[in-house]
């Protein structure tokens, strides 16, 4: 039953060296045509954070904080993982149909293509994570033992993205429309994940019904990851405090991986026919 999953995981582990080397090459090709080069990796997120802070923090909230956390800090804690998640999803889903013609002439494990994109994006993410750490220090948040959880949540994020990349890259190769569909889903999820606004507002304003809506929003796995980052940095809770949610997250990750690897292995020899 788990033959396909095992094969896909085996390929990821076996070719980790290859994944790393090719991820480095991906980075080298990017931003080559811009004068400011890799500086844009940080400039464009900074501009976006600035505008969201101004519109949502100052404009809509009038500078009020969220449960004692300054809005700017709260926003940055959610948006920095998102700046990694969103492009990784879209790029991972396009990776197979963009690259398969290059690699199909050799014995190359196609299942690592989405992973390569995710790993090459992670360089920027880890630098931003460092900046994030400095920002929390500047806001006077003392690092607590809870911060260790960051390792756990980063693992969650990578495993989920790799599993998700496997299924989306296969679907996008079979039908290119899926890519467009996925992009609009991502745009939607940006607003349905607590990045710009706190979902506990729903409970405050609508009571019982609001709680139900919040629970439905929690089904989104990115909710788990983004709130997890906040829990870790702000020292709010441990990931095992809400066992049901943690279990739910891993079950949905497993389900996606299960169907993703099944679909991938079934079609991988015929990807060239769908280009």
């Amino acid at each position: 039953m788990l033959k396909q999953i095992r094969q896909v995981i085996k390929e990821q582990v076996e070719y980790r060296q290859l994944i790393y080397q090719l991820a480095v090459f991906e980075l080298r090709g990017q931003h080559q045509n811009n004068f400011l080069g890799s500086f844009w990796q940080f400039l464009s997120p900074a501009i976006q954070i600035g505008i969201y802070w101004f519109v949502f923090g100052i404009g809509l909230r009038g500078g009020a904080d969220i449960n004692g956390t300054p809005f700017f800090l709260w926003l940055v804690l959610g948006i920095i993982p998102w700046f990694f998640i969103a492009p990784s999803i879209t790029q991972a889903s396009s990776s197979v149909y963009q690259k398969v013609s290059l690699v199909s002439k050799m014995n190359f494990p196609v299942s690592v293509l989405p992973t390569i994109r995710i790993i090459s994006n992670s360089q920027q993410f880890f630098i931003m994570l460092g900046i994030l750490f400095v920002i929390t220090l500047l806001y006077g948040v003392k690092p607590s033992l809870y911060l260790i959880q960051i390792i756990y949540y980063i693992c969650c994020m990578f495993i989920f993205l790799i599993a998700f990349g496997l299924i989306t890259s296969t679907l996008a190769t079979l039908a290119r429309d899926f890519q467009v569909f996925l992009q609009s889903i991502i745009r939607m999820l940006f607003y349905l994940t607590p990045i710009l606004w706190d979902t506990s507002l729903l409970v405050n304003s609508f009571g019982e019904k609001g709680q139900l809506i919040e629970n439905i929003l929690k089904l989104n796995p990115f909710y788990y990851i983004v709130e997890g980052f906040r829990d870790a940095f702000l020292g709010r809770a441990w990931f095992f405090d809400d066992m049901i949610y943690t279990l739910y997250f891993w079950i949905i990750t497993f389900t996606i991986l299960y169907f993703g690897s099944k679909l991938h292995i079934r079609f991988r020899n015929n990807f060239m026919d769908y280009l």
């Binding site: 080298r28 199909s104 039908a175 709680q211 279990l247 739910y248 389900t255 169907f259 020899n269």
Partner: protein
């Protein structure tokens, strides 16, 4: 001598869909109606032993590239079985170089993709640069290359990744004669090492001097297999005969041949996987925990 490549009743069918939606539906095996299909290869069988050089000859659209893609493992046949013993490397004009990277980086990238280790890359890099012979352009991004330079670099890299079976799909026709000479020399080297080579070209002269055996493909079918001089002679006789036909006759001949390639309802057996009965059960077994946890989450 050991058999290197064995093709048995290979066919390749392309579906011709009238609408995009038909193609999409076929993914889910929803057969709403039989669509038209095109037989790019029809029942091709032959064997190639180690050290043989085989030429593929034929008119445009006769299936040479499809066959070389199947030999290179790029495409899967719709029917029949293929056995390839060894690592094959396909060299086509579009060498698959990354335009944004420099030639040097491309060498490294392609070698990594071929599974060479760092030390091995170190060893072959200078050979590749020397073989490509494009001077200081090797430090420039590939997008600034001329088409000749690209094919030089592509050929140089592929040749140095040490394949057992080399498939050359008209890659030599882009370079100038000095480069072609160099490539032919390199191919002689491969022949001396006892490697198997497939060679697609329109040059009858190269074919005759180079190949021992020639497969003449004619509208997807094998018209003749045999000793190179003989097949080339017959092929040239055919082209001569064809060229002497009047325009109408040519058209008629072509449409007759093409209509034979159009078929309906070809049963392909590619990715035919035994859909076992319990497949649905398994899938739902995976979905049930998700549903339970989701419900728990919603109801808190």
């Amino acid at each position: 001598m050991t058999i290197k490549v064995k093709l048995k009743n290979i066919s390749k069918v392309y579906d011709l869909y009238e609408k995009k939606s038909d193609k999409f539906l076929s993914l889910f095996r929803v057969r709403n109606k039989e669509h038209r299909q095109f037989m790019a290869l029809n029942n091709v069988s032959f064997e190639v032993s180690q050290g043989e050089t085989v030429g593929l000859i034929g008119l445009n659209g006769s299936g040479k590239s499809t066959l070389s893609n199947i030999l290179g493992g790029v495409l899967q046949p719709s029917d029949g079985s293929i056995e390839v013993n060894g690592k094959s490397s396909l060299i086509a004009i579009s060498a698959g170089l990354n335009n944004n990277l420099s030639g040097l980086d491309n060498i490294e990238l392609k070698c990594i993709m071929h599974g060479l280790s760092k030390e091995e890359i170190e060893k072959v890099r200078d050979d590749i640069i020397e073989f490509a012979d494009i001077g200081d352009y090797i430090y420039q991004p590939v997008k600034d290359y001329s088409s000749g330079m690209k094919s030089r670099l592509g050929f140089a890299i592929s040749v140095h990744t040490d394949p057992d079976i080399l498939i050359i799909d008209e890659a030599l026709s882009v370079g100038d004669s000095t480069f072609t000479q160099k490539c032919l020399k390199k191919m002689r080297e491969f022949q001396d090492k006892g490697k198997t080579i497939f060679f697609v070209s329109h040059s009858a002269e190269q074919m005759r001097t180079f190949c021992e055996k020639i497969v003449w493909l004619h509208y997807g079918k094998v018209k003749e297999i045999g000793e190179s001089n003989e097949v080339v002679k017959h092929y040239q006789e055919f082209t001569k005969w064809f060229n002497n036909l009047s325009n109408e006759e040519k058209k008629e001949y072509k449409s007759k041949q093409l209509s034979e390639q159009n078929v309906v309802g070809f049963r392909r057996n590619e990715n035919k996987q035994e859909m076992d009965k319990y497949e649905w059960l398994k899938n739902s077994l995976v979905l049930i925990p998700l549903a339970i946890m989701g419900l728990l989450m919603v109801l808190n």
